[in-house]
């Protein structure tokens, strides 16, 4: 049964900001992402892409409509429950790398897994190392997170997003502040990960080339979905 459920589905999600003036940023957004799909979201600046992504990541619960993750509705779940769901099912890559500067690269990758507690510390370390190696930054593992380059940070963030084997990785302009070479590297990594099968990708981007190479591009306009890309 869960095999045919989409990984992620929204039903008429709307979001309104009231401060300082009331603006409806999202207007009945309904779409879904299937298993293994690599979906990009494009749209003019300010059309609500980031806002949508925060809702999808379960960090923002203040919206109307319904969000289903792996077939289950998140409506009415308390925050602790959502935290757990988030660490189990979702990996998140921010536009700015957002690592914990006081921890080592390795530790940054390990923390979400230690929190989830699915594996013991040694196993977690092993898995983290594995992912860092896949992303070709295994040699940076013991450096402090603020001692590596921007492109490397972005890859660390991806390794962290992968650590709990999430169903879906979401990215808000993950290549936004990388040069085209690093941007290509990150794209290839994401592409490769989704090609492995089960894992889906949902990436907000302004980069046309990037979007073209994904399975499907959703275009947003003023809080609505203008094109589902299929």
């Amino acid at each position: 049964m869960s095999q045919i459920d989409p990984v992620l589905e929204t039903r008429k999600v709307s979001k309104t900001f009231h401060d300082p003036v009331t603006v409806q940023v999202l207007k009945e957004v309904s779409f879904s992402v299937e298993r293994g799909e690599f979906v990009s979201i494009m749209g003019k600046s300010g059309c609500g892409k980031s806002t949508l992504l925060y809702i999808l990541s379960t960090m923002d619960t203040d919206f109307q409509g319904e969000l289903l993750l792996d077939g289950k509705s998140t409506t009415g779940m308390d925050r602790d429950h959502l935290s757990r769901l988030r660490s189990e099912k979702i990996g998140f890559v921010f536009q700015f790398h957002y690592l914990l500067p006081e921890f080592s690269v390795l530790r940054n990758v390990m923390l979400p897994a230690l929190k989830l507690g699915r594996y013991g510390p040694e196993e977690v370390e092993h898995r983290a190392m594995e992912r860092l190696k896949i992303l070709e930054i295994g040699d940076q593992a013991l450096k402090r997170a603020n001692q590596i380059s921007g492109g490397q940070k972005q890859r660390v963030a991806i390794a962290r997003a992968l650590i709990n084997d999430p169903l879906i990785i979401m990215g808000d302009e993950p290549t936004g502040n990388l040069d085209s070479k690093n941007s290509d590297i990150v794209f290839d990594i994401l592409r490769g990960l989704s090609a492995e099968g089960e894992r889906s990708m949902l990436v907000v981007t302004h980069d046309e080339d990037f979007a073209k190479r994904t399975d499907r591009t959703i275009v947003m306009d003023d809080g609505r979905i203008a094109d589902h890309g299929r």
Binding site: S57, S83, F92, Y98, L100, L111, K115
Partner: protein, 420 residues
Amino acid sequence: MTMDLKLILGISTTMLLARLKQSVVAGVGVTFSIMMYIALSGFMNGLNELLDGLILNRTPHIRLYNEIEPSEDQPLDLAPDFADRTVFISRIKPKAELTRVRNALGIMQALEKDERVLGIAAKTTAQVFFNVGTIDLNGVINGIQPAEEDRLFRFSDYVVSGSVHDLNAVNSVILGKGVADKMQVDLGDMVQVTTADGQRTMLKVVGTYQSGLADLDNVQCYASIKTTQKLLGRGNDMITDIQVKLHDLASAPALAREFARKFDVEALDIQTANAQFETGSNVRSIISYVVSVVLLIVAGFGIYNILNMLIYEKLDSIAILKATGFSGGDVRAIFISLSMIIGVCGGAVGLVMGYFASIGISHIPFETEALPTIKTYPVDFSGRYYLIGVAFALVTTYIAGLFPAQRASRIDPVEIIRGK
């Protein structure tokens, strides 16, 4: 659960170490206040106990004696001729030897068996004159039981030269320092005393006594109770005071009333005799508590401030932790443990420093006439202050951490991430 705790402690320790300087500053605040608390409390209480001891050590908890008062029964009452008359007798004089406690030996026996009584010491006082050349000096000789007096009232603490033990020899005396100075006598010299009814005796000086109160030291002298009884020409039942020391000081007033009824004597309890003393002692302890609490609260505010600052700096980290699966409760636990680590480390160092500060204080010279045996400042090293210090360090750092941690746990990661 334990896994989570380990993880949370790991995160908070790393955050602390990353801002080592700030953490140390916060820790030093705790260290300083715990140190000051321990040093001050130990010092103030040491002094307090010393001052209390001045009175408590020397004063019997209950003193049994006989007030000089006119006797109620007059011989005339016994005469049958006057039985049905109304008799007026004016200006009755007290009987000659009423200052003696009647049946003192019996009372002492009864008290010795009483379980509430720590010990008793009998005393017989005699008014005397010391004959120095042509002058007679006024004096009071307290006949005491040297061993008991020393055990119960630390008599030897006030004997500045000679020895209490020598009082056991017949016709020996320990003179008040004022008396000895006036007569210019030394250990081993003989002094002549005359009692109120004219008997003369030679006594050998075996020591001098200094209470610190000049009025006392100019008059009070000590001899054994036997010597005094002999001086007065009386037998061994001539006892003017029975001094009682109790196990429980607080029960003195009640027991005094009981003894007065039971033995038909006057009984004066220490609380009644020294009403002003307790007030002073209470005020002193209140002051020392207030000072300590203020110190610890100030340290608490220091931690609170630094944690608030730290949280402001760590907003990004908090957002990331939350975005990667840590709950608000985890974030709160991280910041509370951050604060508690500062409290535990700062407090532990504070304990050690407080101990050394106390040792330092206890080596500062403190010489006073009033306390002949005290050479340095008294310090109370009791473990109570160390326990309270630790408890307070933990409680203040917990509370100081609680509010910032609460704030951190409520931070909305979306707002932080969007804000970039």
